[in-house]
């Protein structure tokens, strides 16, 4: 009676298995496109600016930044939280949709995981450089040392953060890499040149696709998936506790962990949308990343946007309802109005209002508009982090210690650098690695056919 299609076909164009392999590895086999070279040149230039800014910071110290006694966390922590947030969707995509057995993930998870690895790598730059004497960063490791048997503070969220991000980077990178192993074997076995066969052969780790290998591969996927699902939630909750365990007005709130986790997944899904639209457009993979896929991501974004709007409203409501004058001041005189008004309203408009356009099916099927909205969300999420970090620090309890903050060229340079590192990483991934999980897409090509046991 009810024969409504929830989602369109996952792969269009009546493909067979061979065609799928050919289509997905075509960007690796084909010549490097001109647009790729231009984009890579821009990305490398941006990364070089970043490396110079990093060198400048290490050479002359944190004094080259605009952070001060009041605003001790500036762009570096904003960017750290922003990048970690973007890095969240890759794993969220792969893991949650894997556990929920959502087949539409297969065309998208690979790019999302790649995005995670590069984004988390970019995020890790900021806390490291924020330590000031970055060459002493190893002090954070708990190891027997010569400063007395003094251990790191295991009760500090900042230490939890360090361990959580290290674990997250390792698990995301291994999940991504081992996911690619069967695809490397496909490329190896179709390679026409000796160099390509040797390179992809080395990357494939001797994969053959036997049942013994697949069985353990599935086991590893589910184990990593299961524990990474917990990690996704805990990493950003821990980032939130960096803020929430303080006594700063605007930070000291129990809503922070879920608010941060949802915000992270929001920005990450937006970045996934941006990347998938680029992949589909420039590599002509419309038959794999279909309108239906983008539609599904758009629906998730609308839903998360509502949660974001609720979180913003809740924060403001609680500031008023608590009757705490410092909270009232922070929200009503330093965010909704005041020096940083633009940042607050940019956040609300970009994250809570504009995404509501995606309620309309017409908007969800317009790829250009979706691309623009995905970029707007990422800008909005950056403003959200600016709001949280800077406004609360700039004007806290003591008016005598109030300060304003605007970044120096060094801080801007480091941010540009991470954008460049991210872009060059993603472009390298586009060019040399299978952008879509070949073996997984093959598994959803045809409906499962099972022989009935007699």
């Amino acid at each position: 009676m009810y024969k409504a299609e929830v989602r369109g076909p996952l792969i269009l164009g009546n493909k067979d298995y061979r065609q799928i392999t050919s289509d997905i590895i075509a960007p690796i086999d084909n010549k490097t496109p001109g647009w790729w070279k231009v984009a890579m040149a821009v990305a490398v230039t941006m990364a070089s600016i970043g490396f110079f800014a990093l060198y400048y910071t290490v050479r002359y110290g944190i004094g080259t930044w605009a952070v001060n006694n009041s605003v001790a966390w500036g762009w570096e922590i904003i960017n750290f939280v922003w990048w970690i947030g973007i890095g969240h969707a890759g794993t969220a995509f792969s893991i949650f949709l894997l556990i929920l057995r959502q087949k539409w993930r297969t065309s998208i998870n690979r790019a999302a995981e790649a995005m995670t690895v590069f984004a988390v790598g970019c995020a890790a730059v900021f806390p490291a450089i924020h330590m000031g004497r970055v060459w002493l960063a190893f002090f954070i490791f708990p190891y027997p040392n010569t400063r007395g048997p003094l251990w790191v503070n295991f009760n500090s969220p900042l230490f939890w953060d360090f361990i959580a991000i290290s674990a997250y980077l390792l698990i995301s990178a291994s999940f991504w890499y081992f996911g690619m192993v069967p695809d490397f074997a496909s490329i190896r076995d179709r390679a026409k040149t000796k160099i390509k066969k040797a390179v992809y052969g080395a990357l494939a780790f001797g994969w053959t696709g036997s049942t013994k290998e697949w069985m353990r591969y599935e086991g590893l996927s589910y184990v990593l998936g299961g524990i990474a699902a917990v990690l996704v939630v805990s990493v950003h909750s821990i980032v939130a506790t960096d803020f929430a365990t303080s006594v700063i007005p605007g930070w000291h709130t129990t809503i922070f962990p879920p608010y941060f986790v949802v915000g992270a997944i929001f920005s990450g899904f937006a970045m996934v949308m941006t990347l998938m639209i680029i992949i589909r457009k420039y590599y002509h993979l419309e038959e794999y990343v279909t309108d239906s896929h983008l539609n599904a991501i758009a629906k998730i974004l609308v839903f998360i946007s509502l949660i974001m709007g609720t979180a913003y409203t809740t924060e403001v409501f609680m500031a008023w309802y608590s009757g705490n004058p410092y909270e009232m001041f922070t929200f009503f005189h330093n965010r909704i109005t005041g020096d940083y008004t633009f940042m607050f309203w940019a956040m609300v408009i970009c994250n809570a209002i504009i995404p509501q356009l995606m309620w309309s099916k017409k908007i969800r099927s317009n790829i250009t508009v979706l691309f623009i909205i995905s970029i707007i969300i990422n800008i909005g999420m950056w403003y959200e982090r600016f709001n949280i970090v800077v406004t609360s620090l700039a004007k806290d309890y003591l008016p005598s210690s109030w300060a304003t903050y605007s970044p120096t060229w060094v801080e801007i340079g480091i941010f540009i650098g991470t954008l460049g590192i991210f872009a060059s990483g993603v472009l390298t991934f586009f060019r040399f690695l299978p952008m879509i999980a070949i073996s997984e897409v093959k598994s959803v090509l045809k409906p499962t056919e099972i022989i009935e046991k007699h």
Binding site: A167, P182, G206, W207, G209, T211, W214, M215, Y222, S439
Partner: protein, 171 residues
């Protein structure tokens, strides 16, 4: 020592499953099956069972006990710090770091277990009976010595079940 193998090639998962069923009904012994993507029914047919999740659980249990013991040792025995008279054994604040370190431990040990048990590691020398199995073909492999029948019998049974090709190969 090389031996003669019989290789059945199938074009689809459906044909493969028919082939496996056909081979099993005639009591042929399949040595291995190679597929471009994971096929649960093929794993079941060869009675492949993994204890990966049990191993991961044991790693997790050992990690939880290990991390909590380590935190107790550092905070209470080795270098107790007096934070305004609070107890040194601050168990609730150990929970999050225990969770994260457990995840880290399980990840690392699971990766090593996978690498060792599935024999997937850098520089591994591999052998593929038919290179098309990583692309678009499903391969069923029989060792002629243990298959329980000759080439003719196996070939006709597989072809009757939908094999697109059956051939012999020495390796």
């Amino acid at each position: 020592m090389s031996a003669t193998h019989i290789i059945g090639v199938f074009d689809s998962k459906h044909d493969l499953l028919m082939g496996i069923e056909g081979a099993k009904s005639k009591n042929f012994t399949i040595e291995e099956i190679y597929t471009p993507y994971p096929v649960m029914e093929a794993m079941d047919a060869l009675r492949r069972k993994s204890r990966f999740t049990t191993a991961a659980f044991i790693y997790g249990a050992v990690a939880v006990v290990g991390v909590l013991s380590f935190l107790y040792w550092t905070s209470v025995i080795d270098w107790p710090i007096n934070y305004g008279g609070k107890p040194t054994n601050t168990f609730p604040s150990f929970i999050i770091i225990t969770l994260v370190l457990t995840i880290l431990t399980v990840t690392i040990l699971s990766l090593f277990t996978f690498s060792l048990k599935a024999r997937i590691y850098p520089g591994k020398k591999y052998f593929l009976p038919d290179e098309r199995s990583t692309d678009d073909k499903f391969i069923v492999l029989f060792d002629k010595r243990t298959a329980g029948a000759g080439f003719e019998a196996i070939s006709s049974a597989l072809k009757a079940s939908g094999a697109s090709e059956v051939y012999e190969k020495e390796f």
